[in-house]
Symmetry: C2
Subunit: 577 residues, 2 copies
């Protein structure tokens, strides 16, 4: 079957059989010779069969009228869960932006559901007109300081690595585990390398011997570089640098000088975490192309980073370029500045025309097991958030605007009857709690927070990196309880409660407590609504739920809170209030 398809493409190239699709009169970016070629492009069997003139018309002919043909774009590193979309809804929103493949790390859903979550993503990827490839999650659970819902064992990593959609081992965030030779970490890395598959890295702000130790252990990419010097040092050591342009972290401008210095060959683009609304309105990899070229990047360099380089690094053969024998995953753009996508071809079929989907995207509804993942011991009450402490100043988590690191503050809290601590919104000291939600343990960890700015009510989220317990912050204990209970009923999501019994404003994320089944536009609108509701309560950060979601991540300095308590990242110890 495959063999016959190859032959059919060959016959089209010889001119003895018509193409299934002919793109006439386009200008094609040849990434190999760096030329723009004016020619017709012939497609057969999902493959670019030939590029030339004087061929017989194809069964279908599309006139490109001088449009530029570039390869379908590839996101080298993304967590699909961060878009809050199911794979089918994600495909529907990124295909019109020219994306034809992404390389995703499903570690969020794995933290909730373990291998079942990854298996769901793998199944959901089948039959989509977008190629979802995955990296096997390497660090689930992420740490021992929190309670996750799932675990990916070394044996499961091995099993995943044998799946054709799994291209390697996902970002190895456990840096201490790597350099101190944790045996499970080393086993997972070895499993990938033995199969000739790459291991992604995650190495923020590190260089020198630490960087080399990390590389010596077998890791080959990084997407955490934020300065050109850092990126250049990584490239110099043989690392591939994924330039991240996500909703929260944007590193393109800082890293383009490194591309200029070392050449585009060692760089790729990735969005890491990008919101549904941003995908809809601003774009995906096409937006990175646009921004790169606007900042002086050569368009050939930009397209190479956006397609060919990830294909070559991750072993996606016959992809990432426009040439005979390459998969017919193509985007046609108006020009090489705006990169406005007017046509997308996926596997040789028209997938998008003038922004509108031209293919059906089959849904893959999540099974029951993925839907009821908020498992609390019981409904919460206001007094679950009662907080006691001795006299004097206590540790308070201090938010740092636009950053995921926090400060460890020592402040005198507000106190009520019996010396019980209460929120003091005047001084911007409110309560924060993490409610274990995977195992019905009833565990609630409590702390204090400055910088969120809430003046009343509470906001809560079941998206809380990396274990995705429920994190809730509030002025009123009753509102905190109501927000958590609302999430429990809806299967997770984002909740804002002003004054109970007034109902919560909700963005339901019933799939693993992380993902909505709705289309991107609906998700974006709902996110706007809960965000506005949070702002109405006084929340200061532009994206309060994003801010909240990083408060439980115990590997980022300085003071964090998990379901097991307040965690001092510097001393690597839990501390008492």
């Amino acid at each position: 079957m495959f063999a016959r398809k190859l032959t059919a493409a060959s016959e089209v190239a010889r001119g003895v059989r018509p193409a299934s699709l002919m793109l006439r009169g386009g200008r094609l970016l040849d990434l190999f010779t760096r030329e723009i070629i004016e020619a017709d492009l012939l497609i057969k069997s999902g493959t670019v069969a030939a590029i030339g003139s004087d061929y017989p018309a194809g069964e279908q002919v599309i006139d490109l009228d001088g449009g530029y043909i570039i390869p379908g774009l590839i996101d080298a590193h993304i967590h699909l869960e961060s878009t809050l979309l199911l794979p089918a809804q994600f495909a529907a929103v990124v295909l019109p932006h020219g994306t034809t493949a992404v390389i995703a790390d499903p570690h969020e859903i794995a933290n909730v559901l373990g291998i079942a979550g990854v298996d769901f993503m793998l199944e959901a990827a089948e039959k989509l007109p977008l190629d979802l490839f995955f990296m096997a999650p390497s660090c689930v659970p992420s740490t021992e300081m929190e309670t996750a819902g799932g675990e990916i064992t070394p044996e499961q990593v091995e099993r995943l690595l044998d799946h054709p959609r799994v291209l390697g081992l996902a970002e190895m965030m456990n840096f201490p585990g790597v350099i101190h030779g944790d045996s499970a970490v080393a086993a997972k890395i070895a499993a990938a390398l033995r199969r000739g598959k790459p291991v992604d890295g995650h190495l923020p702000a590190m260089g020198g011997r630490d960087l080399q130790a990390y590389l010596a252990a077998g890791i080959s990419t990084d997407h955490e570089a934020v300065t050109a010097e850092e990126a250049l040092e990584k490239v110099r050591c043989g690392m591939r640098v994924i330039i991240r342009e996500g909703s929260a972290a944007r590193n393109l401008s800082a890293l383009l000088p490194a591309v200029k210095a070392a050449g585009s060959r060692w760089f790729m683009f990735g969005s890491d975490d990008r919101e549904a609304g941003e995908l809809l309105t601003v774009g995906h990899i096409d937006e990175i192309l646009r921004r790169a070229v606007a900042q002086g990047c050569d368009p050939f360099d930009a397209v190479e980073m956006a397609a060919l380089n990830p294909a070559l690094h991750y072993g996606l053969v016959r992809r990432g370029a426009v040439a005979p024998g390459y998969r017919a995953d193509l985007a046609v753009v108006d020009d090489l500045e705006d990169f406005r996508v007017r046509l997308v071809i996926k596997d040789g079929e028209v997938a998008v025309r003038e922004g509108a989907l031209a293919v059906e995207i089959p849904a893959h509804p999540p099974g029951e097991g993925l839907l009821r993942t908020i498992r609390l011991a019981r409904e919460l009450r206001a007094d679950d958030f009662t907080l006691k402490a001795g006299p004097g100043a206590v540790p308070v988590i201090g938010l740092v605007p636009d950053q995921i690191i926090t400060e460890k503050l020592l402040l005198e809290p507000g106190r009520g009857e019996n010396g019980l601590i209460r929120a003091d919104p005047q001084r911007d000291i409110i309560k924060v709690a993490v409610v274990e939600r995977h195992r019905r343990s009833g565990r609630v960890a409590l702390g204090l927070l400055r910088g969120l700015g809430l003046r009343r009510g509470a906001i809560a989220s079941s998206v809380a990196h990396d274990s995705h317990n429920i994190i809730v912050a509030g002025v009123s204990e009753a509102a905190m309880a109501a927000a958590v209970n609302a999430l429990s009923r809806t299967g997770g999501g984002f909740a804002v409660v002003d004054q109970p019994p007034a109902p919560a404003v909700l963005l339901p994320l019933p799939v693993a407590g992380l993902i909505s089944p709705e289309p991107a536009a609906a998700v974006a609108a709902a996110l706007e609504k809960v965000t506005a509701a949070a702002h109405a309560l006084g929340a200061v950060p532009a994206q309060p739920f994003l801010t909240l979601s990083f408060l439980a991540l115990p590997v980022i300095p300085h003071l964090k809170i998990t379901d097991r308590g307040l965690f001092d990242v510097d001393s690597f110890n839990f501390i008492e209030l």
Copy 2:
């Protein structure tokens, strides 16, 4: 085990454990940033652990005194059999030239012995301090116009492709089979592509629609380009071009302008066919580096083509560069002009020091089945070469100096008693015959030859592409018979007979009739001796046995001879004398 090794390398990079080997004071070519880095290099677990200064001394320390550290060189395309050496002897001769890996197509031995020949090469590759990788032979037997000793079936190709040393499908020489959709051809290509493994091409002097049809069928490399224009057209279509520098065909000078135009990224170096003597005295890939740089190629470009590019194209992860985490396969050269190799490190061990091997190279003696492969029905006699033809001019194979194409001449032959045709050395028309040697069929095909220049006696060879029957050319029928019989007794090789019963001058190639068990120096000396003997009989070509070996190749225009008869390549038919 592997996991522990990774950890140990990591510890060396952190400076908490000594390197097993430290190369001190070298200058390292960083192919990623194109910088020369002056630093110490630390090795552990066969891996480059770190590059830097102020590290504790390694268990072994070698002072490089400013020598340049480059990655171990990789030959992207070679037929080991053409060196006439066994793998171990080949390793002994190329390691001192800095070669640490080769990608070989074992199709010569496969034509004689089928899968058993390939299996022998795979086994012989184990435990060598040189990485022999293979491509699964795609075209064995080569054509239906000749009798081969072996066949590689599509099922065997599948089996080979699953072997970790087999990187893809070897040069697909059956161009008509590709573009006309021969099902066995397409099945073999599909088998490689399904595994994500590349398919090598072989596409002399072809472009346009034929080239695109060939690529559309799934092929990704070529090593037959002889002009820069041809190479550029291939690169433009997404093909990787292997620049061939063999003993017979040298394409570097012609192709360097294409490297300049398209960038070095799409090019690699390969020797295709290179003689033992040339490997010994002139070199291997190091010689190509030397010549490339002498002709103005940037040394970084040259080293990239000689190491990193083949590693990346053929999926040899963590190879082809000098960086932490990369395999410690390294060469140290005096400078970036002569590239004189002073030290070779293979898998982290000193393999060569000042030209002398420092490692043992274990022999892998061929079993009996590989040794007695000249299977004749009986001893030949002079009258086996009796040639009759009707009156008038007859077709004569005309050699073209320094080329493997031949002319089809129509000449009046010399005739003796009874109208029998006899050699006419005055007019340089001699006899040529192919003796089937695989199946004891007794088949002897006869023809006439001009251009070899023999004035008496005969020369014979069991190396005769692609089926490796015995080809013999001579003035005297008795000498022809004696030469063939001498090869039969010795198990194959090259033979020169002046006047029987004087003994033959021989280069015995008892392994499959293609390969000597002797070291390179002995093989080179013996080749010189038989070549001198052939020249003493009047042979004109510089390498008469090489010339002879291409006369039986029925896919090269215009007139050839196989064991089945005289073959007119233009009409694609056997013809009668």
